[in-house]
Amino acid sequence: MTATLAQTQQDLVDEFAMFTDWQDRYEHLIELGKDLPLITPENKTEENLVRGCQSRVWLSAEYRASTSLSEGTVHFTADSDAMITKGIVALLVRVYNDRTPQEILGASTEFIDRIGLREHLSPNRANGLSAMLDQMKRYALAFSAGSHEEA
């Protein structure tokens, strides 16, 4: 059975708690980036660029209707030209991917603080992270509003 959104957040917090050294923490973040579901080249468009990041981040979402549930799920794909940024977006995708719009919109974001990354990220980068989160929530909101087309 798939872990709940909250469980996935906790898993990440536990994973990062193992590292006491900045180097291990960032190496792990870079590793996470390698598991990111990659956006297709044709989706690397201006519209899918996340504003507010110093490096380039593309984020795309697709609504997948469910046969058993009343509400479908949101499938995210992303990429970045910087490895640490890619790790951060991968971290968010791991938490929010294939969840219902309601789950995404209702989720708490304090796990980012608990991972200890926010304090280690420059204000610029932190803004990038918030920009990515906002973008994911905007997709979820668009899908929950009923227009279940690809955003």
Binding site: W22, Q23, Y26, E27, S55, A82, H120, R125
Partner: protein, 426 residues
């Protein structure tokens, strides 16, 4: 306020400088701060910090208005700073020193007011391809307002102006380049030193060429003032703009030097208190220079702080400071080049202590983040010179910029930390 006696000007003791910058004792991520972002803003010596706080603690009052003692003292301190700055850049008159909030405001003042005085439809303004956005956009706006055209001096592979003077086969491109100025050129606006590349430009030579054709010259000196002895009369420029905060002074204060004759002819930029002679609803008349261009209460503490920063620099040997920075640059250049795939952007013969580089397969943002984790502050990104980034085909660079208080050991730390980061990122 600058009563400190001049220290010995001969030998260079970096520790003597370091002791004067309180911030250098700070730790970043638990590591000693290595500050290599001086081209963005330099750190401040204790004397500058003290000058500002002493002003607030002892003589704070509005200038040029009150008859009371504090106002007189504040006015005197402000005007003494103006004189210090006049002397430092060798302007003829103190009233040719106009205080602004920084280089950006200085250039906006020049572009707006000069534009109104000089530009007509079909005229041309010439800038170079290595300008900071602050020396591009104000001119674009002025050109749009008056129907003028912006022309750009191309940049060579080494990061220097391509004035088309190098011998070689005559091509249409080269011929076009040699025509930097036409009979329609009214204004030349160029940087003395490039913030991204560190290139020291041959401004004096180009100004001389422009003057022959009656072209008004504006120099963006933001990156030159911290490193070079600037003599505006020797350069022959009509205007020279710079900021306090890049030259060991406070933020929010800058200077526009302008030649008296032109300043007299130019219309005011901003209206308000301090800049008027008489006000009535039909027509107001303007105060004399420099106040015509200083509307509103000035940044008095900032002006005093800037005066102190300039006095502080003059207590040392500016040439020795620059020479020290160049030894750091030489070491950084040599050692960074041992990193596989590293390319330096800006390899001009004449440079200040600024090194910009890209590394194959490494994003500048990742590198900047990992250097920060190791306590090293560098600038990453386009450095407000996007057209220059396009010229070199890069999205951004990592830039280390040196000041008088940086050490060889810090350069070695940068090289080691960069190697460590590259290893993590590849």
């Amino acid at each position: 306020m600058s009563t400190t006696s001049s220290p010995v000007k001969s030998a260079y003791h970096v520790e003597e400088f370091r002791a004067q910058f309180p911030i250098l004792k700070e730790l970043v991520h638990g590591k000693p701060l290595v500050y290599f972002d001086n081209a963005a803003t330099s750190q401040k010596p204790r004397r500058v910090i003290k000058a500002e706080s002493t002003y607030y603690a002892t003589i704070n009052a509005n200038v040029h208005r009150g008859v009371h003692t504090l106002s007189t003292k504040a006015t005197e301190a402000q005007e003494a700073a103006r004189e210090t700055i006049r002397k430092h850049i060798n302007a003829k008159h103190a009233h040719e020193i106009i205080f602004t909030s920084g280089t950006t405001a200085s250039i906006n003042l020049a572009a707006t007011s000069l534009g109104q005085l000089l530009l007509e439809k079909g005229d041309e303004v010439v800038i170079s391809g290595m300008e900071h956005h602050s020396n591009i956009v104000p001119w674009q706006l002025a050109c749009e307002r008056h129907g003028a055209t912006l022309k750009v001096i191309p940049i060579t592979e080494s990061g220097e102006w391509d004035l088309g003077e190098t011998p070689g086969p005559s091509t249409p491109l080269r011929e076009a380049r040699s025509e930097v100025f036409t009979e329609k050129t009214r204004i030349l606006a160029i940087s003395h030193v490039s913030n991204t590349l560190g290139t020291i430009n041959p401004v004096k030579e180009l100004i001389a060429q422009a003057k022959k054709q009656g072209i008004i010259t504006v120099v963006d000196g933001a990156q030159a003032i911290p490193h070079l002895k600037v003599d505006v009369q020797d350069l022959g420029c009509d205007f020279y703009a710079f900021s306090g905060h890049k030259a060991y002074g406070p933020t929010g204060i800058g200077v526009l030097y302008g030649r008296e004759e032109l300043l007299e002819k130019m219309p005011p930029w901003q209206g308000g208190g301090e800049m008027i002679d008489q006000v009535n609803f039909e027509k107001s008349t303007w105060a004399k220079l420099p106040f015509k261009f200083e509307a509103g209460t000035p940044n008095i503490a900032g002006i005093i702080g800037l005066g102190e920063a300039i006095s502080w620099m003059n207590d040392y040997d500016l040439d020795a400071m620059a020479a020290h920075e160049l030894t750091l640059l030489a070491r950084a250049t040599k050692e960074l080049l041992t990193i596989d795939g590293l390319r330096i952007i800006g390899t001009a013969k004449e440079k200040v202590g600024v090194i910009s580089f890209v590394i194959e397969g490494v994003h500048h943002y990742d590198l900047g983040t990992l250097l920060d984790q190791q306590g090293i502050a560098v600038r990453t990104g386009h450095h407000c010179t996007q057209p220059l980034m396009d010229r070199f085909g890069v999205s951004g660079t990592t830039r280390a910029s040196f000041a008088c208080f940086n050490t060889m050991a810090e350069v070695d730390a940068l090289v080691a930390a960069t190697k460590k980061a590259v290893k993590m990122l590849r």
